[in-house]
C-alpha cells in the first residue's frame, strides 16, 4: 500500500492562505490505544504517524537502518520501532508510563496516549485514559477477546470514556475472513453489555498492511463502515453536552493587579457564561452577577466549557482559590464524606485512616480513606474482600475530607469529580479517585455551636491549653517522664490530664491491634480525645510510641496553631532494648510479638520536634523541667 497523505499538498503549494484558513478551524481529539505489544499497537500508531507525514526523511532514514538491524519485518520498515522507546531506555529499565504522540489530518489534530503495557498497566492506562475522548481497543484477530481485552475495556469504562473503537487487527493473518470478524464482534458485544459499555464501533484492520487504516480496504468488501481514521475524524466531540450543562468553574487564581480590579481565573468545567448571568460561589453560597469576561485584546461576550477565562463580579464578595463559581439557579452539592473508586498508584500500599492530601479542581484538602469496602479484580470484575489497596489495585472506599468541598459525581463531570491523593511526607501522587456520591450522614450532621467557648474554659482555669505529645521507642522513658511532668505541673496548679498508651488500649482502643492501619486509628482516636480536652481547657500530656510521622502531623493539624508540642524522647534502640522493662523486646526478638516498633516495624523519628530529650544525657526530672521551661517561660 502506498503512503497515503492526510493533507492536500497541492493546496499547501498553491494557496497557503486558504490552507491556513481551513486549518485554523480544526478540532482536536484525544484518544488512547489499548493493547499489548503482540496486538500490534505500536505498529498501528507508527503507521498513523507515517501516513500522516509526521515522520521526516531523517527520522525515516534512521527508522530504515533500525528496521534492518532490529526489525521483525524482514528488512521492511518496522513501524513499531518508531514508537517503542529508545534502546538505552529499555536497557536502563526506565518505566515509560505514558507517551504522547501527535498527528493531524485535514479535519482534526490528534493526541494519542500510548501506554506500553506490562505489569504497570493499570496505573499507566488509567493515567492515559483520564484525558482521552476515545479509546481504541485492539484485538488480535487470531486470538479474539482475551482477559486483557476485558481488563482494558473495564478501565476505559471506569474512566468514563464515551467512545469505544474495537479494532480487530491482523485481519491479513486470517485471510480477511468476515466470519472471524463477526464472531469476535458478537463475543465482545456480550461482554461490553455486561460491564455497561452501551455502544462501540468495530473495524477490521491490518496495521501492518494498512487495511482500513486511512482508506477502506478492497480486501474487506464485506465491511461497509468507515476506515479507522475516517471514524476518528467523524466522531462527535462532547462539546454540546458540556456547554448545555449548568455553568461550573473552579477558581484557580484571583487576579488582583490593583485595588480597582478583582478577577477570578479558571478553566470552565461545564456550561456557557455571559455577562449578566447570576452566579453563586461555593461552598460559601454567596451570590452575585457576572460583570465582565476579561481577555487580552478585549472583553468576550461568552465563554464556554473548556476555555480558560477571567471573570469579574458585580459585587465585592469573598472568593478564593479552590472555591467553585456556579450558575446561581443550579448549585453543586457540597459535602465532606464520599463514596469513591480509588486506583492505587504507589509502591507503598494504602493505609486506611491515614491523612493524605486530596487535590480536586483547584483545591487541596486533608482527607482520610477508610478501609476499602472491596477490591475489584480488573480481569474478572469480581469484588474481593480486602483491608488495603496495593500498587495497581482498584477498590471502592469512603473518604472523609477535613472541610466541605463542592463536587459533582465523576460520571457527570470529571473536572469536579476526579481527584488525586498525595502522600503528606513523600509528596508522591499515590492514588487517583473518582467520586460516586456524597454520604448522607455528612449532610445530616451539623456542627452544634456551644455557648461556653473553649476560650471560656481556658480562662476559668487561668491557663493556655495545649498537647504535650511524647513520642519515642517502647521503653524510651515516655511514661516515666510524663508522670514526673504531670506531678510538677499539678504542684504549679495547672489542670492536666495524662493519656497513656497502654491505658488507652484497655478501654477506648481495646478493639485495635498493632498493624499499621490499627496504629493509625489508635493515634487518630487519641488525637480526637486530646483535642476535646484542649477545648475543655486542659493541658494534655500523651505518652504513645506514635511511630509514624504522618499521624503525628495529622494530630498537629487537628489542634489550634501553637497548641501542639512534639517532644521526641530520643533513646537509642540498644538502650531501650537493654532496659526492656516489660520484657517486650525479648518477646519481639523471639518472634512471639509481631509488628514491634524498632524490631519489625519502623519508627520514623521526628524531623523538627519542638523539644528533643536525649535520655542518655538527661534524667526524667531534668526532662520534665525542660518541657516546663518551654511551656511556662
Amino acid at each position: 500500500m502506498t503512503n497515503q497523505t492526510y493533507r492536500t499538498d497541492s493546496l499547501i503549494a498553491e494557496d497557503i492562505d486558504a490552507y491556513l484558513q481551513a486549518h485554523q478551524h480544526k478540532t482536536m481529539l484525544r484518544f488512547i490505544t489499548c493493547g499489548s505489544v503482540d496486538d500490534g499497537k505500536s505498529t498501528l500508531i507508527g503507521r498513523l504517524l507515517y501516513d500522516s507525514k509526521m515522520i521526516f526523511e531523517d527520522q525515516l532514514a534512521s527508522l530504515e537502518a533500525d528496521s534492518k538491524k532490529l526489525g521483525t519485518q524482514g528488512g521492511n520498515i518496522d513501524f513499531a520501532l518508531l514508537v517503542d522507546g529508545l534502546a538505552a531506555e529499555r536497557e536502563q529499565g526506565i518505566t515509560i508510563d505514558v507517551a504522547y504522540r501527535f498527528f493531524a489530518t485535514e479535519k482534526r489534530k490528534f493526541i494519542v496516549a500510548d501506554t506500553p503495557g506490562h505489569e504497570q498497566y493499570t496505573r499507566n492506562m488509567v493515567t492515559g485514559a483520564s484525558t482521552a475522548d476515545l479509546a481504541v481497543i485492539l484485538i488480535d484477530a487470531r486470538k479474539g477477546v482475551l482477559t486483557q481485552t476485558r481488563r482494558h475495556s473495564y478501565l476505559v469504562h471506569l474512566l468514563g470514556i464515551r467512545h469505544v473503537v474495537l479494532a480487530v487487527n491482523k485481519m491479513d493473518l486470517v485471510g480477511y475472513d468476515q466470519a472471524v470478524f463477526d464472531a469476535i464482534v458478537a463475543d465482545y458485544r456480550q461482554f461490553a453489555d455486561s460491564i455497561g459499555i452501551n455502544a462501540f464501533t468495530a473495524i477490521p484492520i491490518s496495521g501492518l498492511a494498512g487495511d482500513n487504516i486511512t482508506t477502506t480496504s478492497p480486501q474487506t468488501p464485506w465491511y461497509q463502515g468507515p476506515s479507522l481514521l475516517a471514524h476518528l475524524e467523524q466522531v462527535p466531540l462532547n462539546s454540546t453536552a458540556a456547554q448545555t450543562a449548568p455553568f461550573r468553574m473552579a477558581v484557580q487564581w484571583v487576579n488582583r493587579p490593583n485595588l480597582d480590579f478583582r478577577g477570578f481565573s479558571g478553566l470552565v468545567a461545564s456550561g456557557t457564561l455571559r455577562p449578566g448571568d447570576a452566579v453563586r460561589v461555593l461552598p460559601s453560597g454567596k451570590t452575585s452577577h457576572v460583570a465582565r469576561i476579561v481577555a487580552l485584546g478585549g472583553d468576550k461576550p461568552t465563554a464556554v466549557a473548556g476555555e480558560s477565562i477571567t471573570l469579574t463580579l458585580t459585587d465585592e464578595i469573598d472568593c478564593s482559590r479552590g472555591q467553585v463559581i456556579v450558575a446561581a439557579q443550579s448549585p453543586l452539592e457540597v459535602a465532606d464524606q464520599f463514596e469513591t473508586t480509588i486506583v492505587w498508584m504507589d509502591d507503598t500500599e494504602m493505609v486506611p485512616g491515614r491523612a493524605y492530601w486530596l487535590k480536586i479542581g483547584a483545591q487541596t484538602v486533608s482527607a482520610t480513606v477508610q478501609a476499602p469496602k472491596y477490591e475489584i479484580n480488573v480481569n474478572t470484575q469480581e469484588h474481593l474482600a480486602t483491608k488495603t489497596l496495593d500498587l495497581n489495585a482498584i477498590g471502592v472506599a469512603n473518604i472523609t475530607t477535613d472541610r466541605d468541598i463542592p463536587f459533582a459525581p465523576y460520571g457527570e463531570n470529571s473536572d469536579l469529580g476526579g481527584f488525586i491523593l498525595i502522600d503528606k511526607i513523600t509528596n508522591r501522587t499515590v492514588a487517583a479517585g473518582m467520586i460516586h456520591f456524597a454520604l448522607r450522614r455528612a449532610q445530616n450532621i451539623h456542627w452544634q455551636a456551644t455557648e461556653i467557648s473553649r476560650q471560656d474554659h481556658a480562662a476559668m482555669k487561668n491557663q493556655k491549653p495545649c498537647v504535650l505529645w511524647l513520642t519515642g521507642l517502647s521503653g524510651s522513658g515516655k511514661s516515666t517522664i510524663a508522670n514526673v511532668l504531670e506531678r510538677k505541673l499539678a504542684r504549679m496548679n495547672r489542670h492536666t490530664f495524662l493519656l497513656d498508651g497502654d491505658n488507652v488500649r484497655h478501654g477506648l482502643n481495646k478493639d485495635l491491634g498493632f498493624t499499621e492501619a490499627d496504629r493509625v486509628e489508635n493515634i487518630r482516636r487519641v488525637g480526637e480525645v486530646a483535642k476535646l480536652m484542649t477545648d475543655a481547657g486542659l493541658i494534655v500530656i500523651t505518652a504513645f510510641i506514635s511511630p509514624f510521622r504522618s499521624e503525628r502531623e495529622m494530630v498537629r493539624e487537628m489542634m489550634q496553631p501553637g497548641e501542639f508540642l512534639e517532644i521526641f524522647v530520643d533513646t537509642p534502640l540498644e538502650h531501650a532494648e537493654a532496659r526492656d522493662v516489660k520484657g517486650l523486646y525479648a518477646k519481639a526478638r523471639a518472634g512471639v510479638l509481631k509488628n514491634f516498633t524498632g524490631i519489625d516495624s519502623p519508627y520514623e523519628a521526628p524531623e523538627q520536634p519542638e523539644i528533643r530529650i536525649d535520655t542518655t544525657q538527661t534524667t526524667p526530672d531534668e526532662a520534665a523541667d525542660m518541657i516546663i521551661a518551654r511551656l511556662i517561660p
Partner: protein, 301 residues
C-alpha cells in the same frame, strides 16, 4: 442555543493557560525560562493572556551563552519590556572567565553555558518552579516527559521517580530544595506553534524569515557568520545566501536552510512541504545517541 466548537488551538491555549495559572498559584518563586525562540515567544504570549490585565507575576530568565544571534538579543529586551516583566540575564561567570566557546570546546560549551548556567541561575535566585518551552513532539525522549517534571535538590531528573498526571490535576508539592520544571506547551506541535504565531500576530526573531545573510558551509551544516568572532578556516569566504532558521540557538551551532520564504505563510508552507525534522538543524542533538535523555538527567532543560 448555538454550540461553539473549540478549535484545536483554542483547546491547546486553554490547557497551557491552566498550567501557567496552576504554577503561579502553587509556587513560592516561579520564573519563566526565555530562550527568545518561537516556542518561548508563544509561551510568553500565553502568559500575558493567562494573567491579563496583570502582567505575568514572575520574571523572565535568559540563560545566556554570549553566542546567540544579535537579532535574538534585540528581540529579547523588547519582548520583556512589552510584557512589563523583569528580565534576568545570567551568564555563567566561570564559562565567561575561561572563554568557553562553541568553536574550541565542543560539548563543553553547552554543558558550561547552558546546563551549569541554568542551575546557577535557579540556585542564585531560589526559583522553585521554572517554565520551559519544550514540546513532546520534538523527539522521542520528550514524548513521555511530564508537564510537571521534578528535579532533586541538585537538579537531577530521575525518570523512574516522576508522578502520574491525571485529568487536569498536577501535584506541585515538593520538599525544600527540590524544584519543578514545568512545560506548558507540551502538547503543541511545530505546526501548532506556527499557526498560533500567525493567528495571534506574535513577534518572532526575523531570522525565522529568509533574507540574504553571510554564510559558510561546514561539516554539512550551513552556518551564518553573525559577528567577527567566527573563526574562518583557511580558504573559507563568507558567501551571501538567502537563508532562514527553523530553530534558533547559539549561532555557531545552528544550521540554516536555504530558503526564499520571507513571510509567515511562506514559512509555514515550506515547513509543511519539508522532509526533515526540526531538530536536525541543531548540532547539540548529534553529540551522542539518546543525547537529549542524557542532558536532561544532568539538568539541561
Amino acid at each position: 442555543m448555538t454550540e461553539t466548537t473549540l478549535t484545536h488551538l483554542q483547546r491547546l491555549e486553554a490547557e497551557s493557560i491552566h498550567i501557567l495559572r496552576e504554577v503561579v498559584a502553587e509556587a513560592e518563586n516561579p520564573v519563566m525560562l526565555y530562550s527568545v525562540g518561537k516556542d518561548s515567544a508563544v509561551m510568553l504570549h500565553l502568559a500575558r493572556k493567562a494573567f491579563y490585565p496583570a502582567p505575568p507575576p514572575f520574571p523572565l530568565l535568559h540563560v545566556d551563552t554570549t553566542w546567540k544571534f544579535q537579532d535574538m538579543y534585540a528581540l529579547r529586551d523588547r519582548a520583556a519590556a512589552d510584557a512589563g516583566m523583569q528580565l534576568i540575564v545570567h551568564q555563567n561567570p566561570q564559562a565567561l572567565e575561561q572563554g568557553i566557546n562553541p568553536f574550541d570546546h565542543g560539548p563543553l560549551h553547552t554543558d558550561m553555558w547552558k546546563t551549569e548556567g541554568l542551575k546557577q541561575a535557579l540556585d542564585l535566585h531560589g526559583f522553585d518552579m521554572a517554565f520551559g518551552g519544550a514540546r513532546r513532539d520534538e523527539e522521542k525522549s520528550r514524548a513521555k516527559e511530564r508537564v510537571f517534571s521534578f528535579r532533586s535538590a541538585n537538579h537531577r531528573w530521575d525518570p523512574k521517580n516522576q508522578r502520574p498526571e491525571l485529568w487536569r490535576l498536577y501535584n506541585a508539592r515538593k520538599a525544600k530544595g527540590e524544584s519543578v520544571r514545568v512545560f506548558p506547551i507540551s502538547n503543541w506541535t511545530e505546526l501548532d506553534i506556527w499557526q498560533y504565531i500567525h493567528l495571534e500576530g506574535i513577534q518572532i526573531v526575523p531570522l525565522y524569515f529568509a533574507a540574504p545573510r553571510p554564510t559558510v558551509t561546514r561539516d554539512g551544516m550551513l552556518l551564518m557568520v553573525d559577528d567577527d568572532r567566527f573563526p574562518l578556516r583557511p580558504g573559507e569566504v563568507p558567501e551571501m545566501r538567502s537563508i532562514r532558521f527553523r530553530t534558533l540557538g547559539c549561532y555557531p551551532l545552528t544550521g540554516a536552510v536555504e530558503s526564499t520564504a520571507s513571510t509567515l505563510p511562506q514559512v509555514i508552507q515550506e515547513m509543511l512541504l519539508t522532509t526533515t525534522s526540526e531538530r536536525q538543524g541543531r548540532a547539540i542533538d548529534h553529540d551522542q545517541a539518546a543525547s537529549m535523555e542524557k542532558k536532561k538527567q544532568d539538568g539541561y532543560f
